[in-house]
């Protein structure tokens, strides 16, 4: 492996009002190397990469690039230097073609201004895609591609800058295993061409496969740089959280009540779901596993009336209930906690109290007036009970961390006295350390008699938490397995039942 140093950051610090985001952090990257950067959310990974790509300015520290001191003052300058970043959220324009997206802002207009030379552009894009062994038509509209293919377009775009450094922020978070594998193939191509790749990921298993070195940061501080070959996942995790965490747990066997709380019969939707039926027992955690697009979130949304169903019945404690809108679901005591908390769960610009009482405001009123005293009281109780870390109930929710935001959403449904809680990816975007707390909370809720549906794409999480595991594929429920009979291969088998 080439060891010529391509890039080095040393002693980088960055302070935001009231927060020391980075403190004296080091990071370096060699030619032809994949260097993973890991840390919990809020550890400073993104901040560091934003400094490197010119979005933020560093307060102190030095950046050496190809032997020269540089000062990356803007994203444009980063591009000129040859540093490209692929953000976690894709930045593509769905109504433009693959080629147009790749070359946006750099259209070659020299010859026939102001008209674009589309033929040339398509040819260039085709050449680039071939070089990366990507089977994509440059003329396809990006909006018609799957998320995975769109990710590939982002990578092609980054490569098209012909830079030396490519930063990938959580590139596999929405990819299937097969798609991840083809992404790795591209990364290996880039490596072979002598490029340096900075790889940020929460999926530590991937690092073993793709990275050469791993740098861990925690709370804005540099912790350690490890050679991948000489370390293992538990070590990385313990460095990230500062203590050891058990990765492969199974739930304690809880005394299971056999009362069926919720019975779903033959739910179908226009586009995806086909005849889904299952039962949920009191005090049970029913895990829902499956690949992206298998229909788990769609099932939850159809169940709570957020999207229309074409068929199917829902029974609550034996009684059929008509759920046509989310308000019907809430009325029936079903609370839905979306994977995208910021979009579907929280009022970010409002305070904790407001969010906690959001689903139960009529319960805090007298003659239409909201009683602010009891509302704040309930919020303080929730803060204490769920250990929500916030200076007070008046804090705006956007200022809380992911884990605490999730607790606020949970508090909202507990305040509404919901007996059935649907958690969609309960720990997405939540730190390893805080995940543990959410797990404990879920277990506690179940043992207190709440029934929980937990949708998760992380198999260790499903295995750790669920009493039973329902697996979906292509809109159908392919199997429900008892935890004691379940392992990752079995689940994957069900999850790919209808796939080619």
């Amino acid at each position: 492996m080439a060891t010529a140093q391509l890039l080095s950051l040393s002693g980088v610090s960055k302070e935001f009002p009231g927060v020391k985001a980075l403190n004296n952090v080091h990071f370096d990257l060699n030619k032809g190397e994949v260097h993973a950067l890991v840390g919990e959310n809020g550890a400073g990974k993104s901040t560091l990469m934003k400094i490197l790509s010119g979005i933020y300015k560093k307060d102190t520290g030095e950046i050496t690039y190809q032997g020269n001191h540089v000062n990356v003052s803007s994203p444009i300058e980063a591009h000129h230097l040859g540093i490209s970043i692929i953000h976690q959220e894709l930045n593509l324009m769905p109504h433009l073609t693959v080629a147009e997206n790749i070359f946006i802002g750099r259209e070659d207009r020299k010859k026939v201004r102001p008209f674009l030379n589309k033929t040339m552009q398509n040819k260039a894009a085709a050449a680039l895609l071939a070089e990366l062994s990507l089977n994509l038509d440059p003329k396809t509209l990006v909006g018609d591609l799957t998320i995975a293919k769109q990710q590939m377009v982002e990578i092609a775009k980054a490569v098209s800058y012909r830079g030396e450094v490519i930063i990938m922020d959580e590139p596999t978070s929405s990819l299937t295993p097969a798609e991840t594998e083809s992404l790795f193939a591209i990364i290996r191509t880039l490596k072979a061409a002598g490029k340096g790749v900075v790889y940020i990921s929460h999926r530590l298993e991937e690092l073993e496969q793709i990275s050469d070195r791993i740098t861990v940061i925690r709370d804005g501080e540099y912790v350690k740089t490890l050679n991948t070959k000489e370390t293992n996942i538990p070590e990385v995790i313990s460095l990230m959280v500062g203590r050891t965490v058990d990765q492969d747990q199974r739930p304690d066997v809880r005394p299971m009540n056999s009362d069926v709380v919720l019975k779903v019969e033959g739910i179908s939707t226009r586009n995806l779901l086909k005849d889904v039926s299952f039962e949920l027992k009191r005090g049970e955690i029913l895990g829902f596993a499956g690949l992206m697009g298998s229909g788990r979130t769609e099932l939850a949304r159809a169940l709570i009336g957020a999207d229309p169903k074409t068929d199917g019945k829902v029974f609550l404690k034996g009684q059929e209930v008509k759920i046509k809108s989310p308000s019907d679901a809430v009325e029936a005591g079903i609370g839905y906690l979306s994977e995208d908390r910021k979009r579907f769960g929280l009022l970010l610009i409002q305070n904790v109290t407001f969010n906690v009482i959001l689903a139960s405001i009529p319960g805090f009123t007298k003659f239409g007036f909201v009683k602010s005293g009891p509302a704040a009281g309930i919020a303080r109780d929730a803060i204490a009970q769920l250990k929500i870390r916030t200076p007070s109930e008046k804090q705006l929710v956007k200022n809380l961390s992911g884990g605490n935001q999730q607790k606020v959403v949970i508090a909202k449904w507990l305040t509404r006295n919901c007996d059935i809680l649907i958690f969609d990816e309960p720990t997405r975007g939540i730190d390893v350390g805080a995940k543990d707390e959410i797990y404990k909370l879920l277990t506690k809720l179940a043992s207190e008699g709440k029934s929980i549906i937990m949708i998760s794409s992380e198999l260790p999480e499903v295995l750790r938490m669920s009493d039973r595991i329902a697996v979906m594929c292509e809109g159908r429920l392919t199997g429900i397995i008892d935890n004691k009979d379940a392992d990752q291969p079995t689940i994957m088998q069900y999850a790919t039942k209808y796939r080619d």
């Binding site: 009002p17 009022l347 689903a359 405001i361 200022n399 961390s401 605490n404």
Partner: protein, 338 residues
């Protein structure tokens, strides 16, 4: 440790209550400050500016109609919506009031009820277009703005309706003095503002106004019947439009079919100057009233100084830019917006 929030907000803890309030309401404190500075400036330039005659008749009375419109649209803007129909809606309500009061010889209360009902219905129509037909508020209310303009002209047969002497006491709604020295129009504006403020801050409707504006999808998934509440909010806005129309007819002694177009923009400007976010989720009636007063004080002051009218427009434009820009700067400093 990384899970613990570390934000500017955390510092609030150590501070005194007053400081906390100032910090939280800094936008309004600044707006109020600007109002005081403007007032002082014009008073020094021409002392007649602060005479009660000018303050009551020149400044406060000229705030009544746009002030009531601005109060109504504050609710809509906090939901993240917009209502362009409030200007021509005022004309439509005024004409309906004129028609019915003059034709049916309704008394004062009857006339006010007609205005409020017509305004409320217009709001319901807006609400239905936005929720059931799922039209964007801008488009829906652009359509009703046009329709209201047309209806006002059709119903009035393009003639102003003179309230003549047959309608007893109609002019007293705005011009009378229930409280000595204070024109009723001003009293109504402030009572209307107080009621609106209570609705916004203390009632279920107010909470949902903020909730919808912060995140309507999350609000809906929390079991709130967002569509119904939105219709109610647009209706409430319409009720204030009706009140503004009653006020306008009382001030003018007539209902003018072509009056009102453009008032919606003045109302929106007042709301924005008052610190309500055009993106929704944040705002206050107090801010809106301060914003409306800033506009009136500015225009009245410039008139008193006899600045050429063309330049008056330019100054107003600059003030709007400055107000919103300074608010943005302040929020960015406080880490309020990313």
């Amino acid at each position: 440790m990384s899970d613990v929030l570390k934000t500017a907000g955390e510092e609030v803890q150590g501070e005194s209550k007053i400081k906390e309030i100032i910090r939280r309401e800094i936008g309004q404190v600044l707006a109020l400050g600007s109002l005081v500075v403007l007032f002082a400036f014009f008073s020094i330039m021409r002392p007649v500016f602060y005479s009660w005659a000018n303050v009551s008749n020149g400044i406060l009375m000229s705030t009544t109609v746009t002030g009531l419109l601005a109060i109504g649209i504050t609710f809509v803007i906090i939901t993240g919506g917009i209502d362009l129909s409030i200007g021509t809606g005022t004309a439509l309500c005024a004409i309906m009031v004129g028609k019915l009061v003059v034709a049916w010889h309704l008394n004062l209360a009857g006339g006010v009820i007609v205005g409020v009902v017509v305004g409320g219905l217009l709001g319901v129509v807006n609400g239905i277009l936005i929720t059931l037909l799922k039209l964007p508020p801008f488009i829906a209310t652009l359509a009703t703005m046009k329709a209201a303009q047309g209806l006002a002209l059709i119903i009035s047969q393009m003639r102003p309706i003179h309230f003549a002497d047959g309608v007893k006491g109609w002019d007293q709604i705005a011009q009378g003095n229930l409280i000595p020295q204070i024109p009723n129009g001003v009293t109504i504006l402030f009572v209307g503002a107080t009621i609106a403020s209570i609705i916004l801050n203390r009632t279920v409707l107010g909470r949902y106004t903020f909730a919808i504006g912060s995140n309507s999808e999350a609000t809906k998934l929390s079991g709130v019947k967002v569509d119904r509440w939105l219709i109610a909010i647009y209706a409430l806005c319409g009720i204030y439009v009706g009140l503004a129309a009653v006020m306008l007819t009382s001030r003018l002694g007539s209902a003018q079919p072509d009056l009102g177009l453009g008032y919606e923009l003045e109302a929106i400007a007042a709301v924005i100057i008052g610190g309500t976010s055009i993106l929704g989720g944040k705002g206050s009636i107090r801010g809106t009233i301060i914003g409306a007063l800033i506009m009136s004080v500015l225009i009245n002051g410039l008139r008193i100084l006899e600045l050429q009218q063309e330049w008056q427009y330019v100054v107003v434009g600059i003030v709007i830019i400055f107000a919103v820009w300074s608010d943005n700067v302040r929020r960015r400093r406080a880490g309020d917006v990313s």
